[in-house]
Subunit: 134 residues, 2 copies
């Protein structure tokens, strides 16, 4: 069921500083910042040969990463996103096996414009998993 690792998302308190570290210091290719007000984040993509690291900074008053940054003021790895072919089939299969799907279980349109769901980190060893239909 699991396809590619689409990205690993890191919540950062200072996007400009993080971009400097990944770009100038680590020598990775980084995108321009992209404000996604509907998702409450500004994102920078660190383009790797096989996948992406996404640097997320809160945007607006209801950012989904604000609480995480309150608990982890220095930042930290927020979630991992895996690709699936059929997100409804994936959701139903997971629910049948007792996995808790966050929210109302209906896929939302994610930051890449594709349907996504999040799985409860308590069901996966403290790891917040995003599934994205590709």
């Amino acid at each position: 069921m699991l396809g590619r690792l689409n990205h690993v998302a890191i919540a950062v308190p200072d996007l400009e500083a993080a971009v400097r570290k990944y770009g100038k210091v680590l020598g990775a290719k980084v995108s321009q910042p992209l404000a996604l007000p509907d998702h409450g984040v500004t994102v920078v993509f660190v383009e790797l040969a096989n996948t992406k690291t996404e640097l997320l900074e809160p945007l607006g008053e209801h950012s989904p990463i604000a609480a995480f940054l309150e608990r982890n003021p220095s930042g930290g790895i927020h979630h991992m996103c895996y690709e699936v072919d059929d997100i409804i089939a994936a959701r139903d299969r997971l629910r049948d096996q007792g996995v808790r799907v966050l929210g109302d279980g209906e896929p939302k349109i994610g930051a890449h414009g594709k349907p996504v769901l999040f799985l409860h980190p308590k069901d996966f060893d403290g790891t917040l998993i995003e599934l994205e239909q590709v």
Copy 2:
């Protein structure tokens, strides 16, 4: 400088349970457990199309992930490993820019039999970064 994302490592309190979740529940291809006593972990590789997730369980009395699991008893994402061509050149470049390399700064032979170094998480938004020479 940064090459591929080699793996994301997740520390888990119960490897058998984690293997069941990634294998049976999420439907990923998982390896047999591999005991690495020199590295203080037993590892299972979750084989994705483009990279790997590594599930790590402490092994022995001096496991490098024991303290992490004491702080995070349910488990959690422990580190991200990026590939580099030349680990000595990478280390020197990073040090020149003020990044703290963990330990004595000499590469160790990592769990894949290749030279590795770890970078201080406080220099990368709370993310422990492993560099592996490939």
